[in-house]
Point group: none
Chain length 197, copies 4
Amino acid sequence: MTESRRRPGRPRDKSIDERALATTRELLVRRGFDATTIQAVAEHSGVHASAIYRRWPTRIELIEEATFPGLNPLSVRPTGDLRRDLRRFVRAYLAAFGAPAARAAAAGLLAHHQTSGRPRTPETDLRVSARPQFRDILRAAPPGSVDPAVDPDDAFDMLLGAVLARTLLLPVTTRQRPLERTVDMLLRMLRPLDRPT
Amino acid sequence: MTESRRRPGRPRDKSIDERALATTRELLVRRGFDATTIQAVAEHSGVHASAIYRRWPTRIELIEEATFPGLNPLSVRPTGDLRRDLRRFVRAYLAAFGAPAARAAAAGLLAHHQTSGRPRTPETDLRVSARPQFRDILRAAPPGSVDPAVDPDDAFDMLLGAVLARTLLLPVTTRQRPLERTVDMLLRMLRPLDRPT
Amino acid sequence: MTESRRRPGRPRDKSIDERALATTRELLVRRGFDATTIQAVAEHSGVHASAIYRRWPTRIELIEEATFPGLNPLSVRPTGDLRRDLRRFVRAYLAAFGAPAARAAAAGLLAHHQTSGRPRTPETDLRVSARPQFRDILRAAPPGSVDPAVDPDDAFDMLLGAVLARTLLLPVTTRQRPLERTVDMLLRMLRPLDRPT
Amino acid sequence: MTESRRRPGRPRDKSIDERALATTRELLVRRGFDATTIQAVAEHSGVHASAIYRRWPTRIELIEEATFPGLNPLSVRPTGDLRRDLRRFVRAYLAAFGAPAARAAAAGLLAHHQTSGRPRTPETDLRVSARPQFRDILRAAPPGSVDPAVDPDDAFDMLLGAVLARTLLLPVTTRQRPLERTVDMLLRMLRPLDRPT
DNA sequence: TGTTAACCGAGACGGTACGTCGGGTCTTCCG
DNA sequence: CGGAAGACCCGACGTACCGTCTCGGTTAACA
């Protein structure tokens, strides 16, 4: 209810938000993070710079909203089929990071947050945290398929790293390693060490 | 021999290089990538800005040399003891990325190179490529300890990602996950699938 | 009426124009043309350099406006009394060139325009052209006091030269030759060659 | 004898002086005073900048020597024919100021000396003073042709101004007013006021 | 039917960094 | 010692963004 309180005065033009965000993404992909300045967005979008500053206090926040808008877009309900769950999870995870604009922005955002000093947990920078979902998947897996000695966080770190590596290191145009190979690596990591007859 | 030919003209003052690079690293750690400007380095180091521009045409190149100077500092001769080799490898790898200045610079450099358009292989951005050494280690491992079905590059990508994640995501001051855990994960990935006799 | 249309956007702070111009004149007199840099004006006036660049694209234009602001400040209505008209004319002319700041700037401006290549008539450099007024004065003189054989432009050139010489050659502090002597020289030049009884 | 004392060490290469001066004049004419920098002279002449600094401590002195080398090139022995003497005098005077390089340099040199603060007499800046010669000419004129009431310095100032005006105000390429007109103006100034018998 | 508050565009404001260029001085090696 | 080369310190140049601000004019909801 508190949300729907109409503010007095002239309402904002929603189309301005959209045009600004779309142009931001376009510039990120075509010109890169450094060149995605507020003035450049203003020029290319036709939205005046002050209308942009009215919505996003700094260019960082504009870029953040343009690339990682929602807080947690991942919601995969585990089925119990470990390989299938992991595949869907990795796919969803990559979808967030894999969008060209997101890939172009990720490193810049990380660089900025490196020093911003505000309270940070590892993944909040990119507004994507999926640790709980990952744990749920492992918990739903059939007994014997996941070694209880493996710390889920350790495995998640490896996965997060692999996704980041794909995102940050490869130019936007490069052909990506097939997703299935990453899932394989995960399964290998998780399975129990050996199975005494 | 060809190298030692004295160049004509007044020789450069080596201490200027050192002071500039040291100050650059210091600023990266204390103020972060964005604040490590050429003028800031000039002020804090006492080196005049033009002397800096004479050596590094742009601040990016200054930061690169300050943080990832040599091309390939990793050289680990495999002993055949897989766990030990991997441990030394990961440690050496982390040493390159783990230095506070390097951690502070890495994301910024990646962001910049994202669009610089010049020919890039995945790791050249940070001037660290260790794929061949990694393959050597796997090759030297005793038979039966590494599953031949595992593509060494897949495993290396996971490792690189894990290192990157530690580097980029955590603030400089954060306590790191113990290195041994990462080595464990790697060993799990590599070992052959057990077959019931 | 068309003039007074309010321009959109935040109006310029008029006091900035005044402070910058005043400081420019002051520096010209006290430090000279070469030392009257935009940064020096910024420092001494408290006006930020970017506010100066917003108004005058280059320091030459700033100095021009500070020293020879209007296009044609001379307007002397001839009375027919030749000596009196000339005296007032020369006085007005000297007033434009005689201001200390103008004297300090004139040579520098001329030096700059020597090569600027843009379309130039002799006096436009210093934005002072008084040829028409001079001709009016001669035309209004009583018959017989001005030799019709004298080309007014020739006489004007001599006058302009004399004024320039006073302006450019003498240090700002030097005592000037009395104005009346210059008027005398002009009258001598203009009068008819001889008067047959 | 004192002059010919051979200094120890390698003698200076005279051709360097000439090349530097010639290039300086060329640049003055083609690019103007501001663009005639020491580095530009070095590049265009092939003479290294340090060789130039060894000879002329500042660029101003280089330009001075390149444009107004000798101290007093005017020496016109009066013949008593006033018009002829004046014509030769004006011609000689214009020859010094009229050379393209000199015309291009004059304003700049004046601007510089405006503030240099060292003891200055009016014409020393441009190293040309011809007041004494001018007085000699008037003195040698036949009685009755020069009004004794005219202060020779007043007349000389008018002449100097006229020459300066031609030099400074007109672009290097402009067609000049014929010299004879200037001589006429001078004669008009000088002749006695006619008295009805 | 006005108020009224927030919108919109335009653009000025104080700042900071950029990378270039010129000024003169100094240091090195070579002839 | 002269010459060539080039490093050194210093400071001005003009551009580009940053994020804030002040305007006049517009647009809806509310009184």
